[in-house]
Amino acid sequence: MTLKNSSEEKTVGVVGLGSFGTAIARMLAEKNPVVAYARRADLVDEINQNHSIDGQPVSENIIATQDPEMLCKSCEILFFMVPSSAFQEVVRAFSPYLYPYHIIIHGTKGLCLNLPNGKSLSDMKVISRENILTMSEVILKETVVVRVGCLAGPNLAKELSKGQPAATVVASKYNEVIHQGQNLLRSDKFQVYGNSDIIGVELSGVLKNIIAIASGALAGLGLGENAKGLLISRGMVELIYLGNALGGSLKSFVGLAGIGDLVTTCNSTLSRNYTVGYRLAQGESLETIQNTMSEVAEGINTVRLMKTFVEGTGMRAPITENLYKVLFEDLLIEDALQYLMKYPFSVDVDFL
C-alpha cells in the first residue's frame, strides 16, 4: 500500500483500456495518479513512453502495466472496465493479489453465465437466476473483496473524452464505496449520484442494451420518432419486468442508470448497441457487423442470455424474444415489427 495516509493523493487502478476504460482513466487522472492495466504490450509502452493512448495524448499521471500484482499492490481502489466476455478471466487473474482492504468499482454493462462445470448455454434447456451473474456477483464469487460497486448511466465514452457534461451513478451496498467513487470522479463536468441497489443499477445498464439494438433497427428502417417513443416506453416496461425478476428494484430502473441511459443509447449513433441494430436494418449480417466492430456490443450476448432466462421463468418479453429471432434465427426485422404491432399489450403502465 503506497501513499496510504494521503487520501488526496492515492493511486487508483484502472483495469482495461477500452474506450470507456480510457475515458474513466482520463477523468481519474485529473485528480489522482492512475495505474492502468492493459493487455496489449504496445499500448503499455505507448502510455509509459509517449503519454498517449492510440495517438491521443493523456495525462502524465497515468502509468500502464501488464502486471496485476503491481497494480494491486499500488492501489486500494480499482476500476474494472473489461467487457463481460473477458471479465471472469481478468478477475481470476487479479484474484490472487486482491485483499479484503481493496475496493472494486466496475463499469461493465453485461452479464456472465454461471453454469455447472463443462456445460454451455446451448446444453441448458432453462437457466435460472443462479446461473446468471452480474459483474459485481462475479467479483464477489471470484475474490475476497466485498466492498464492490458499479458505475452506470448515460456515459458515452466519446462524449466523456471530449469533456462534455454528464452524470453517472455509483451503486454499492457500502456507503464508503459510493463516497470514494464520488470523491474520485466528481468534477465540474461530471456529476456522480449514489444508489444502494447495486443489482438494480447493474441490470439497468445491462438490459437497456437490448432496447438500444431494437432502437437502432427502427432508425435503420427509417421509421421515425413516433415509433421510437413507442419502443422506448414499451422497452422500459420490459426492462422493469426482467429487472425485477432478476432482483433489481423498480426505483433504480427509473433513475439515471435506467431511463437516463436508455434515452441516451436509444438516440445515439455513438452507441455500439444502437449501431448493431442500425446496421442490421441496413441489411448487414450479424457476423459481418461483429467482425468489423472494434469493440464488443454487450447487448448481443445479453439478448441471448435473457431469452433463455425468460423461457425458464414462463414470463413473456416480446421485444427480447423477437430481437433474438432477428439476431440468431434470421427473422426479418419487418416481420418482428409486425409481430410486435399485433402483440396484445393491453395496459399502458402496470408496474408502478
Partner: protein
Amino acid sequence: MTDDYIKHKYDPILPQKDEWPVVKLSKSRKEFVKSVAEASKKRILGLTGGNVAVLKEELETTLYREKLRIKQNPWAVDPDDDYEFWNNVKGSLLQLSADISTPKIEKKKKYIAILDEITMRYAEEIASNFKHTHYKFTRSIITSGFARLLNAARVKGIKRLFSNQYSLQDKIQTIGETEQLRDLASKGTIIMVPTHFSNLDSILIGWIISVLGLPPFIYGAGLNLFNIDIFAYFMNSLGAYKVDRRKKNLPYLETLKTYSSEAIQFGVHSLFFPGGTRSRSGKIESKLKLGLLSTAIEAQRANYQKGINDISGKVFIVPVTINYHFVLEAPSLIKEYLSITGQERYYAESDEFSTSYKISKFLFKFFTKGSDISVSVGKAMDVLGHYVDKDGNSMDKNGRTIETRDYFISNGEVNLDTQREEEYTNRLGNRIVEEFHIINRVFSSHLVAFTAFQMIKKQNKKLDLFNLLRLPEEDIVLDYEEFKQEVQRVLDQIFELKANNKIHVAPHLRRGIDEIISHGLDNVGMYHAKRPLVKNSEGNIITEDMSLLYFYHNRLDGYDLEKLF
C-alpha cells in the same frame, strides 16, 4: 465433516476454573457493568449526534414507555424500586425542561447525567450472575440426573439405580468439528450459533459445551424465565444474562448490545440463537435476527482497533444444528405459524394442552425409548463468514490465508463505519444460514415426512396450503409401493446433494429402503398423540395430522427437493 458419531471423553481445555473467561468476568462484575454502562452511554450520545434536543426526546420517550410498562405489564422479577426510579427520572426531566436560567452546556451535562443513571441501571439488570459452585451443581444434576433416568429405564434389577452403562452421550450424539472448536476456544473467542427448534435446546447445548470440555458460554435468556425462582437459579448458574423483551427503548437496546459486545471483547464465549426464537414452521432458520450478531462484528473491529491482531482477539462463529426426530412443542409451534401466516384462512381447532404433564411424559419417554438426537458442530468461520484453519487463520476459497482485519480498513486504518458493519452483519447472517443447510443431517423421519407431504400436495395440486392442511385425514392414503419409489427418488437426490457437500445424512439412511422407511415411520413425531405418519392395516401410508406432517416435512425445505414432484 464426517458422518461418524463422536463418543469420546474430552478433558477440559482449561482445567482451572479461575482461567475461565466467564469466571474472570464474574469476578470483575462491578467494573465490567460500569464499563458497559459507560460504553453504551457513549454510543447513545453518538447516535444522538451530541444534539441535546434529540437526547431529551429519547429520554422522554424512554420514560414514557417505562412508566407504561410498570403500569400495564409488571413482572415479579422487576426490582422493587422500579416505580421510584422512573419517578425520579421524571422529576429530573421536568425540572430541567422548566429551568430557563441554566446555560446550555450545564443543561447538556445534566441530561447526560440522567442518561448515565439509566444505562447504569440497565447494565446492572442485564449482567449475568455466574457462580461457579452453582454451575457445578447444575451441571451435575443434568448429567447424573439424566443418566440415572436413562439407566433406570434400560438396565434391569437392583443395579439399575447405580448403573453407568448408558450415558447421555449414547442418547445425544455429537458430530462434526469438535476438535477445531476446542482448539479455537482455547485461543480465541467463540460465538456459537445453533438452530432453535425446541425449549430443550438451551439445556442440550449447555450440556454439550460441558461434555466437550469447554468453559461455560454466556447467552441471553428472556427475563420472563427469571420470574420463577428455580429457573432463575439455573439460568444464572449457566451464565445467562437477561433480555427483557418488554423494553424496546433505545437506551435499553443499546445497553444490551454493548453488554454482548463488551463480553466478547473480554474473551467470554457466547451463545446466540440467531433465529431469535424457536422455528415455528419447522424450517431451518432462513431469516436471522441480526441485532446480537452485529455485536460479534463490532467486537471484532473493536479488538482490531485496540491493536489486538493475533488470535487472542479473534472472534469465531461456529454454527451448530440440532437434529431431532421429534420436537415436543411441534403441535403448538406449527399452529402458531399457520395462524400467523394464514390469518383468516386458518382456524385453529381447539386442543387441550397440559404442558407440564406433557413435558414429564416426554422426558420419561425420551429416556426410556429410542428417538436419538444429534448435534452437528460446523466449521468455524471468521466474522465475514470465511472458514478458518486450525490456527484460526481465515482462508479464501482457494485456501489462501487472508487477514480479517483488512475488511475493516479504509485509507490504511481500521475505522468504524456502522453502515459497513450492518452490511457485514447481513452477509454473516446469510453465511450462517448457508452453513446450517450444509451441516444439517437428514434423518429417516425427515425423509418420509417430506416425501409423503409432497405426494399429497401433488395429488391435490389445486389446493393452497391452508386448504391442503384442512383435507380430512381419513381421505389421504398413499400406496406403499408408490411411496417407496418416491422415497427412493428423494433419497437419491439427497445423496447427490451430499456428494456435493450440501447436506449431511445420518448413518441409518444407508440401510435398505424398506428399513429406512420403517425407521422413519417409527420415529417421525413419535410421541405425539396424533402421529404425522403411520402404516395402516393394509400396509399403506396414512397421516393422522396434516399440520404435524407439514412441520416435519419443512425440515428439508430449502434444498429444492420439491422440484422432484
